[in-house]
Symmetry: none
Subunit: 345 residues, 2 copies
DNA sequence: CATATGCGGGACATTGCGTGACCCACGAAG
DNA sequence: CTTCGTGGGTCACGCAATGTCCCGCATATG
């Protein structure tokens, strides 16, 4: 077991393990920001140029990165090493343990944690997307239908998804909401389909509409068809939002927002608002995947990070039949911290 | 697989393995020579006092050794670490591979190799004894009969055997030969029995005697009984000697020695002399375990090291039904080296 | 086209740490 | 008692790691 070896090395050469982490961090950061120069990288990694330079010289010597006029790039060997190293660093940092504890606490099948706090460092969100993309890709099989919601985090996943030729059908789980095109479920679906070498469907509908409009809308044949595809998805990937900021982004009336706040709404997912215990306090009149559809879907993957979302994530985990959660360390720590206090209440 | 981790580390922090080996070497040497002081240890490890001091300070900080006025000692944590580390170092040094190759070539069940050359460094012999003791102890079960021959190497084994309460019966496989009491089979048997928490029998007999004397001697009831115990041993541990030096130590007449040399005698074990192909060229009129008894014994362990004995060890391995060989790296290298030349002859 | 920015790489002074070379006090052993 | 080996302290030296620049160049930008 490699864990034993790491334990031995922790005793015998602790500073070299530190060195290993340091170099891994450089490679990893480089991977996320390439191409990038010495100075900029040094600043982002909170180290001096000279120190980074020494490390970079070494890593170049090892053939793990190339130095060009535009900046530094990882070589294929560097990427391979990074992948293989990820698990090791995971264990060294104790993330594996946290994942198991969090999965146990939230009753999930699996939890993936990336180091850092997506609120503080935008690269953590990128790493989050990468980790989620890795996981999704490891599960997907040719011919699967994959449903995705919108949001910046899921958009990052699509961006980080490596090119493959899997032949997946990607469908948006939600209609459009009134914000940036870039983060719409439709946009993400098309992007993901491009990366995965598959096809995609679109749900040309506003996310929110009146009852009558909704009824007539969903009886449209092509909408019906898309909705049926969505409901037959094998896997759905969705984000988790904070209730109030989300309501604001949807331009809900102030009165409605106040009402939600009064009901203790703290989290949002799939158009549903949850209080901290996971109870649904409000369901939007939404087109797309409903909560009741989820139980027919094999694998439900939630992706969200940033300490500010910790409570929301915990709430949705209790209220939604999630299988897998991909999040960051700040969230994991916050939830596990709260857990200790809960039993006393 | 831990090998993968080592490969990764080799790329990312090449110093790590070097440093690990260095510190392992210090701990190992300290284990074999404790209590010992800074200066003496530095000299033996071919390093400077100041360097060793830095390492020792670190290892002390890690709680792996204690520093007292009499010198340094390993702590229990240090011993544990050393044990666990042994396998890792084994693989790093490629000894595991050599063991498998040598076992394959000599047709043995198992080979254990310790680094170094017992001819050059007396501590290697000690390590040899330690490794052999470790192996023997791992096999022994309560109630077993263990037969041992004489010799300095087997004596070292007895010395290195940790105290246990196994309840073993130890019997000398040979009578006494005319040399130092310390290395007699009888002495070793009693010592081993003390360490293993068992009983022992003695074979009060000269190793070499005339036919008539031998006949009358082995008909003595208590000798008979001891001999029967010996032949029912589950395990026998024996040394391997070079033919001519051994003959000299036994004070054989010069004429006999010349005759042995003429017959190509190169190795000695159990009182038999072998040529390089493993043919018996001379059998002494010996009391104790005969070659023909060996086939009834479950596990036959040979312990011998030092490059000068390489040919002898190879010869005995071919001529004797040995199961397990514990030797040093110099021997292994020499035998494996010769192997490449043999097919061409 | 000219300018500005960020890139890699070179250069150099400085400093800080590893290291060598001692010292002493002490306890054990002869 | 002397002698040896022990740990621990100290200090100066030297080199390597580091901080701090600079330059030439490619690219983006106006």
């Amino acid at each position: 077991m490699q864990n034993e070896l790491l334990a031995l090395q922790q005793q015998l050469v602790p500073d070299l393990l530190t060195m290993m982490k340091k170099r891994y961090r450089i490679l990893h950061h480089l991977f996320l920001t390439q191409p990038i120069g010495r100075r900029a990288l040094a600043q982002q990694l909170q180290t001096t140029e000279r120190i980074l330079r020494a490390e970079v010289d070494f890593l170049k010597e090892q053939g793990l990165l190339t130095i060009e006029t535009v900046g530094m790039h990882l070589t294929d060997a560097g990427k391979t090493l990074l992948d293989e190293l990820a698990d090791v660093i995971h264990e060294i940092e104790g993330l594996g343990k946290k994942e198991r504890r969090l999965a146990d606490f939230l009753g999930l099948q699996k939890v993936c944690i990336v180091p850092g706090d997506a609120d503080l460092d935008p690269l953590v969100k990128k790493a989050l997307g990468h980790a989620a993309a890795d996981y999704v890709r490891s599960i997907l099989r040719a011919g699967d239908i994959l449903a995705v919601t919108g949001g910046t985090t899921v958009a990052t996943l699509a961006e980080q998804m490596p090119k493959t030729q899997l032949g997946i059908e990607v469908a948006p789980a939600r209609g459009g909401i009134g914000e940036n095109m870039e983060f719409q479920a439709n946009t993400i679906a098309s992007r993901l389909a491009a990366q995965l070498g598959g096809t995609y469907r679109l749900l040309h509908a506003p996310d929110l509409m009146s009852d009558e409009a909704l009824q007539s809308f969903i009886s449209e044949p092509h909408v019906q068809e898309t909705l049926q595809r969505i409901r037959r998805a094998r896997m759905v990937v969705h984000g988790i939002g904070q209730a109030i900021p989300m309501a604001r982004r949807r331009n809900l009336p102030e009165a409605k927002i106040d009402q939600l706040a009064g009901q203790g709404a703290i989290a949002e997912a799939f158009g549903y608002y949850f209080d901290r215990s996971g109870n649904i306090v409000h369901a939007m009149n939404t087109v797309g995947l409903r909560l009741s559809d989820l139980k027919h879907i094999e694998r439900i993957v939630a992706v969200a990070g940033g300490k500010s979302k910790a409570e929301a994530i915990s709430a949705v985990a209790h209220g939604c039949p999630i299988n897998v959660l991909v999040t960051d360390e700040a969230v994991a720590d916050a939830i596990l911290e709260n857990r200790r206090e809960e039993p006393n209440r």
